[in-house]
């Protein structure tokens, strides 16, 4: 594997990149042929089901599975005793580093159950009905313990303690007592006290957000088949089949080469399918039963036991001069990590103020364990929570200073060379271009109707590269088969990859057929996360294409008996290089491929990279709302998302990413929240009571693509999937404030809460 940062952006005339062909996976998806996790079956398969904790926090005194195992049709029962305990060992697995000691306990509870829905045992049976009946026969003796859900309550000294051995990391000296504060981190730059002293105006507020789920439509689903010679095959809906393979191997103490993972089509992930849940259980059940085992989560299980994102509490303080320059900024973010440490508070802390060029900053992040499912990444993990607080405070400050919201941001905007408070200086970025495009958009100046409000907010995300591989096989007829290792998380990255390969080869888009390879067909790939799919996957595909082109040139040089440097690749043909004295008859890709078997063998290109050079992305959103003063309902009237994506390989799918992110942000702002009862039991584990936006709730989401090329990608790609979910929470809150004169500091802005605020404001006004 090499570190790939050598491919630089080169502006050139493009024929395919930037067009809008139909996606290669489209026909199968709209005709129902596409196979998702639950669509995969094997002869003789069993159905696996999981017994889950009915308590938010309890010690497991004993588990008796004998009656379940004796039920006719039950072929295997597993619990904590079927898995080796794991020592503390850390590994990168997406959003944050994971600790295998925690992973094995989240997969199957050991000493304690730590949330409603925590797996306690699992069965495999010949039917789902028998499996469910068997679960009822498992006897678990619990000692119920006090629980804590709220992040601030969990930080109190007398809070119920989840982990008796957890001492806060990141503080000196080490605390004398364990607590639910797993980690504290602090980023600082300059002198905030002096900065606030220099301010003419200070805004200081506290904000809270509720935990929300990624809301993917396809529940987790997998099928495992373990053979008598110790080999396992796994089909699963995942954002990272190589990472799943590694984690299953670790947890089941198997060699990596003995597990082959085939990714199915994925019906949404958004960070929620970065982590294993049922996969090791299915393999373990298959190993024990000697039969394939299929496990499909119900929606209730998805809500109760898979990673939502954190609920957060954020304190923000801003100071600024009369002329609009921010002199100091501080924030303290406290995030629910769920049952085990590892929330997204670190990246949230790092991007809280990174849209701005600030001299004096301090950000504290608190990672707090509570009796909820272990959180998972959710599209720009943590950033929307931080941006809700910071961009609301920015809006309030701009209003206090009498400066238009985009102007205020432009005065303070980060640009190339801005020193971040978490580490490096920013490279080439497009925040100013994005703000200027938003300011120039007709939406920004369109007249508002009576009672309507307009809000502005912005977002930033880092984007990443990481380990990525690809193989490009030139077929005998001159078509090309592209094997990618990055999962297409339904955003259309297969199309984008094929377009880049077609552009490189100089052949039509439909002559490149992309596929996602299984774990036996390519080297390791990191998960599709961090907006890396088209950036890093595209880099690998371009490298593989250029590798193939070099081999094609070499083959033609030998066929035509000319030096290699006399052969140029142009528009799908090997042609004499310009100015070369050695002329020869050009050969098309199809002609070379047709002769390949007799001139040296098949031709293929490969790439095995650790992709570096990701380009950060910035977005600016404009939203108009109308608030129904009788019901408290907020209607989104108009929404415009502007974003620098570096380069849109397939603009329609980039627009789709922007629209999808906005819609998820609208849900987070207006309706979505986990509701727990007094016993810590999730009260709304279904889409009837957990309300995500549907088409009838939404206007058309307008998009503006800004293209400030990433200098470290051959086509200038930055990545685009995460930035669009960051700004909507604050943009909508700012619009509601503009409409009502009431600022909301707590999400979601659901109708009862809005109505109450309207009534309270009216009562206060009548008293005055």
């Amino acid at each position: 594997m090499i570190v790939a940062s050598g491919l630089k952006y080169q502006a050139r005339e493009l024929k395919i990149v930037g067009t809008r062909p139909l996606r290669p996976d489209g026909v199968d998806k709209v005709t129902g042929r596409a196979r998702y996790g639950a669509d995969i079956s094997l002869p003789g398969q069993l159905i696996g089901k999981v017994l889950r904790s009915p308590h938010a926090h309890a010690r497991i005194k004993s588990i008796d599975t004998s009656a379940a195992a004796a039920l006719p049709g039950v072929k295997a029962v597993i619990s904590r005793d079927d898995f080796a305990d794991m020592a503390e060992e850390y590994a990168a697995a997406g959003e944050l580093t994971i600790n295998f000691r925690d992973v094995t306990r989240n997969m199957m509870a050991r000493e304690k159950v730590l949330y409603d829905g925590h797996p306690v045992a699992a069965v495999a049976a010949t039917s789902e009905a028998i499996a469910r009946a068997a679960l009822k026969l498992i006897k678990v003796d619990y000692e119920i313990l006090p629980h804590v859900i709220d992040v601030i309550a969990a930080l109190r000294p007398d809070a119920p303690l989840l982990h008796e051995e957890q001492y806060t990391e990141g503080v000196n000296p080490r605390p004398a007592r364990p607590s639910n504060l797993a980690k504290r981190l602090e980023f600082a730059r300059g002198n905030v006290e002096a900065g606030f002293a220099a301010a003419d105006t200070i805004v200081e507020r506290e904000f809270t957000t509720k935990p929300v789920h990624q809301g993917y439509i396809e529940p987790q689903a997998c099928l495992a088949s373990y053979s008598e010679d110790g080999q396992a095959e796994l089909w699963t809906s995942t954002q990272g089949h190589f990472v799943f393979r590694a984690q299953c191997a670790k947890l089941l103490q198997m060699e990596i080469s003995k597990i082959r993972v085939t990714p199915t089509e994925i019906g949404g992930g958004f960070g929620g399918k970065n982590n294993i849940y049922n996969e090791p259980l299915a393999i373990a059940l298959s190993r024990k039963s000697h039969r394939p085992v299929k496990m499909v989560m119900t929606r209730e299980e998805v809500f109760r036991a898979t990673g939502p994102t954190s609920g957060g509490h954020v304190k923000v303080r801003l100071g600024a001069t009369r002329d609009g320059r921010i002199t100091a900024a501080t924030a303290e973010l406290s995030f629910q990590a769920g049952a085990f440490p590892g929330s997204s508070v670190a990246p949230a802390s790092m991007c809280a103020f990174t849209r701005y060029d600030l001299e004096n900053v301090r950000v504290i992040g608190n990672d707090v364990t509570v009796n909820r499912p272990k959180v998972a990444a959710y599209r720009a993990p943590g950033a929307p929570i931080a941006a809700f607080a910071v961009e609301s405070a920015i809006d309030e400050m701009a209003k206090k200073l009498g400066i238009a919201p985009i102007e205020f941001r432009l005065i303070n905007a980060a640009r190339e060379g801005t020193q971040t408070y978490y580490g490096p200086k920013l490279g080439k970025i497009g925040y100013i271009e994005t703000l200027e495009a938003a300011r120039a958009h007709p939406h920004y100046r369109a007249p508002l109707g009576p009672g309507h409000g307009r809000g502005i907010a912005t977002g930033f995300w880092f984007n990443i590269g990481n380990e990525t591989t690809a193989a490009l096989n030139i077929n005998e007829d001159g078509t090309a088969t592209l094997i990618m290792g990055t999962i297409d998380v339904a955003g259309g990255s297969r199309a984008a990859m094929a377009m880049m390969v077609a552009e490189e080869l100089g052949i039509p888009f439909d002559r490149v057929r992309p596929h996602i390879g299984d774990t036996s067909s390519l080297g390791f790939n990191f998960i599709t996360a961090g907006s890396r799919g088209t950036f890093a996957g595209g880099m690998a595909c371009v490298v593989a294409a250029r590798d193939a082109i070099e081999k094609l040139r070499d083959r033609v040089a030998r066929i035509r008996e000319v030096p290699l440097e006399a052969v140029l690749w142009k528009d799908g043909h090997a042609v004499p290089a310009e100015g070369s004295a050695r002329q020869f008859a050009p050969m098309s890709l199809a002609e070379i491929a047709g002769q390949a078997g007799k001139t040296g063998g098949p031709i293929a290109g490969h790439a095995e990279l650790n992709v570096q050079g990701a380009g950060p992305g910035f977005g600016a959103h404009i939203v108009d709302v109308e608030v129904d003063r009788q019901t408290g309902s907020i209607k989104i009237l108009r929404y415009t998302a502007v974003q620098d994506v570096g380069r849109a390989i397939h603009p329609a799918y980039v627009e789709g990413q922007l629209q999808g992110g906005v819609v998820q942000g609208i849900g987070w702002a207006l309706n979505e929240e986990y509701v727990y009862d007094a016993d810590g039991i999730l009260a709304n584990p279904g889409f009837l009571d957990y309300r995500i936006p549907v088409a009838s709730d939404l206007p058309f989401i307008d998009t503006v693509i800004v293209e400030v090329a990433n200098p470290n990608h051959p086509y200038g790609v930055r990545g685009c999937g995460e930035v669009p979910i960051i700004a909507p929470l604050a943009a909508i809150a700012n619009a509601v404030e503009n409409a009502l004169g009431i600022r909301f500091y707590d999400l979601p802005m659901a109708p009862p809460k809005v109505l109450q605020a309207i009534d309270e404001a009216a009562a206060a006004a009548s008293k005055a």
Partner: protein, 81 residues
């Protein structure tokens, strides 16, 4: 000697130090030197940290060269959803 700058989030593991100079030729040598100097930083170096060398960010790039006059920032790794 390369100028090494540590994110303020790492001060609990470095006794408060955020800046030093080291004679290292690549990231592996840098991490080895930092681990020897700050034993509490070793686990972070193993799994949690990225570097920016003269403005270019690298994650998991132990063989990346560091020039004698380079400026290197260490800060938490980034992933995403």
């Amino acid at each position: 000697m390369a100028r090494i700058l540590l994110s303020s989030s790492l001060t609990p593991y470095t006794g408060g130090e955020t800046e030093l100079e080291l004679n290292v030729a690549n990231v592996a040598q840098l991490f080895q030197a930092l681990g020897a100097r700050y034993p509490r930083l070793r686990q972070q170096l193993e799994t949690d940290l990225a570097v920016a060398i003269d403005g270019e960010i690298y994650q998991d790039a132990l063989l990346q060269a560091i020039a004698g006059d380079s400026e290197v920032f260490l800060f938490p790794k980034i992933a995403g959803g």
